[in-house]
């Protein structure tokens, strides 16, 4: 799995097992690669009213496999929605191209692309009934009426909205509108369904339900879903693969597990889940001699103990940032003890006990202690020992390395 990740900043980062940009290694040989979406050298620049150029999409290249549930995740303004709209044909790229299989689509008008969108606002036509909304795309194709009706019925069943067929959108709840928007986009049997934060307007409970529903729909239809969200939890639970976007480009693309367990940089680690960051000096050779690019990395942890990491990371200023998930830290003695600290805060969460541990050098670490809880040993003021498997201590690429 280890691959070279080409970085434009000129620093080549080796060895971190990240699913790579093109990610061919995960392709199912049975699915034809000819229908994948390939984005190559895409660029889009906006000029703000203050006459500042902003790179909404900054030289982006990656591909999305056929039949995949692909999530584009990132904070607002990271370029994920602009890219989605470029695939839909609602935005035009300044440079680069988008292909669907062997066909270049980025210069086609929207109606010639086998792609449909579920909009964040749903964008249901208020003057049409549910059935008319679903039929709209089919009518635009000039399909015969009986076929349209059959397809509408099928779609209504698919999203379980048969009873609402003659309602107007304003008479529906948010979740129901969401289903209609889905049915409308799916009615045309697109090769790719684009979803622009479709669940953002729903409340938590409904959102959970719809997440499962979307997953089910994607599996049953086999259509490629490209799903934009800023909710990392949603991304993790739904995506086959996730592209984490920052400042107009994807910084990491991989399976949810890869993204969670092996974030490439501090941005990803911070954006996905909860992470402890430890800044520390790095030494490149087991004997403390001059650093050699591919020699193992020895790190002295705050507890005074050294940890040898099996791979190499860049250490531009002689330090390295390590990331450890709270749940990967264990309390007590173990082979890989790495720090000793004092419990400074405790929150009981039912499933676990969330501790804040203050290390001697002032670093605060979040730690989760699973039950059963030892009330005597774990209380504020107790001194505890922490250990972690070296594999769970992730050295991060500096974010400036781009």
């Amino acid at each position: 799995m280890a691959r070279v990740v080409p970085q434009s900043g000129g620093v080549h980062v080796l060895t971190i097992p990240v699913t790579t940009i093109s990610g061919y290694d995960r392709i199912d040989p049975s699915s034809s690669p000819s229908r994948e979406i390939v984005i190559e050298g895409a660029r889009k620049t906006y000029i703000t009213p203050e006459k500042v150029a902003i790179n909404a999409i900054d030289d982006v290249s990656f591909s999305i496999k056929q039949g995949e549930f692909f999530v584009m995740l990132g904070p607002s303004g990271c370029g994920k929605t602009t890219l989605l709209r470029s695939i839909a044909g609602l935005e035009t790229l300044d440079a680069g191209e988008i292909r669907l299989g062997s066909r270049r689509i980025d210069q086609l008008p929207p109606h010639e692309r086998p792609v449909n969108t579920v909009f964040q606002s749903y964008a249901l036509f208020p003057h049409l009934t549910v059935a008319q909304n679903i039929a709209f795309g089919l009518e635009m194709e000039g399909r015969p009426r009986p076929e349209v009706q059959a397809r509408v019925t099928e779609m209504l069943e698919l999203v379980q909205m048969q009873e609402m067929a003659s309602r107007k959108p304003e008479q529906l709840s948010g979740g129901q509108q969401q289903r209609v928007a889905l049915a409308r986009a799916l009615a045309k049997q697109p090769e790719v369904l684009l979803l622009d934060e479709p669940l953002a307007a729903l409340d938590l409970k409904l959102r959970r339900g719809m997440q499962a529903e979307l997953k089910r729909l994607q599996r049953t239809t086999g259509i490629t879903f490209v799903f934009v969200t800023h909710d990392q939890e949603e991304a993790l639970s739904m995506g086959d693969r996730i592209a984490v976007f920052d400042k107009g480009r994807p910084v990491q693309i991989g399976t949810p597990e890869e993204i969670y367990e092996k974030p490439v940089n501090r941005f990803v680690a911070d954006f996905i889940g909860e992470t402890n960051f430890i800044n520390t000096d790095a030494v490149r050779a087991p004997d403390g001699a001059a650093a050699v690019a591919d020699s193992p990395l020895i790190i002295t942890l705050p507890g005074g103990q050294s940890v040898t990491l099996p791979k190499t990371v860049p250490t531009p200023d002689g330090t390295v940032t390590l990331a450890i998930r709270p749940e990967r830290i264990t309390v007590g003695d173990g082979a890989h003890h790495f720090a000793t600290g004092t419990i400074s805060g405790l929150v009981y969460m039912g499933t676990d006990l969330r501790c804040t541990v203050l290390l001697d050098d002032g670093t605060e670490l979040g730690v989760r202690i699973p039950p059963p809880f030892d009330d005597k040993a774990t209380k504020v003021g107790s001194v505890i020992k922490l250990y972690a498997e070296p594999a769970n201590i992730r050295p991060l690429m500096p974010e400036t390395a781009r």
Binding site: L90, P110, N116, A123, A185, D231
Partner: protein, 321 residues
């Protein structure tokens, strides 16, 4: 660390206390008691319903031997003379003249409405897609003609269209020679379209101003081409504005006579002039009243038809400006 860590609010709004329910005057904020609307009601009755009743009564009365006014003898003569005439030789015949006047007025109003619609819709759509500040400026520009008196504006058109006016100066310079524009049906129609265009633009604009253009995007996404988006999405959503605009243009255009007289040379008898003449030189008040009643009934039927259509199609049609 979820970023969506909102807890679903299961809280209910507490039941209103019994004391609140039993309050004698359960007014919601913003409601005014019936007493407050009495003056408006009285004025409304006096100034709208009152004259209408008088007109209806007059239409069933007789005219005196000399002078204007009415005498209180019931008569259907006014309505009869709308369709039947006794000619100069004493023959009683069907008289199509007044129907022709109605027809001419109808054509005038229809042409005005249709041309205004065709001109106003793209303009309103264009306005509605501008930036908000620009939209305000544009609305202001559209209303500028209201700042000056209609007669003044019509005289300005006379200056533009007359033989030595701007248009003819241009056509002469180009070598086409002078064109007869003033005192033609064309000039009259032009004046009407000019006068009523804002009444079409504003309601259509107001129905499109709140339009969510993401709907157009959605339609594009579903395979609609530009014209289909306009026809299937924008047009239906603009329908209430279009209906308002048509009413606001058609009704006054139907009865207007300033432009036909000043720009058209008064050579076409229209319903407005005909009614005015009955209360003037013709001194036939009952007939004038009967003509007014006929116009009124026609417009009421039109409005009822629109209401019927609106209920059947489930489309909200309202007069909004």
């Amino acid at each position: 660390m979820t970023r969506t860590g909102t807890v679903e609010a299961e809280k209910r709004i507490p039941d209103p206390s019994p004391a609140r329910i039993k309050r004698r005057n359960p007014k919601r904020p913003g409601q005014i008691g019936w007493l407050g609307s009495v003056p408006a009601l009285i004025i409304g009755l006096l100034f709208t319903v009152g004259p209408l009743i008088i007109i209806v009564i007059f239409s069933f009365l007789s005219r005196p031997k000399t002078g204007g006014g009415v005498i209180y003898d019931f008569s259907l003569e006014a309505y009869r003379s709308f369709l039947v005439q006794v000619d100069f030789l004493g023959n009683t015949t069907f008289d199509p003249r007044y129907l022709a006047v109605f027809g001419d007025s109808l054509v005038q109003a229809s042409v005005t409405s249709v041309v205004c619609l065709v001109l106003a819709f793209p303009l309103a759509l264009w306005m509605a897609t501008r930036k908000p500040r620009m939209q305000n400026v544009l609305v202001l520009l559209v209303t500028i003609p209201f700042w000056t008196n209609l007669l003044v504006r019509t005289y300005a058109w006379m200056l533009i269209l007359n033989e030595n006016g701007i248009v003819n100066t241009f056509t002469k310079a180009v070598g086409i020679g002078s064109v007869d524009l003033l005192y033609t049906p064309f000039a009259s129609q032009l004046g009407l379209i000019y006068t009523f265009l804002p009444f079409m633009v504003l309601p259509i604009y107001s129905s499109l101003a709140g339009f969510d253009f993401r709907l157009a995007e959605a339609a594009y996404d579903l395979g609609a081409k530009k014209m289909a988006v306009v026809r299937r999405i924008i047009l239906p959503i603009a329908t209430p504005g279009i209906v308002s605009g048509l009413l606001l243009v058609f009704m006054p255009a139907f009865g207007s006579y300033v432009q036909p007289v000043l720009l058209g040379g008064g050579k076409l008898l229209l319903i407005g002039n005909l009614i005015a003449a009955q209360f003037g030189a013709s001194r036939n008040w009952p007939f004038g009243a009967a003509l007014s009643v006929i116009v009124l009934v026609m417009l009421m039927l039109t409005l009822m038809l629109i209401a019927f259509y609106s209920r059947r199609s489930g489309r909200k049609v309202e007069i909004s400006l």
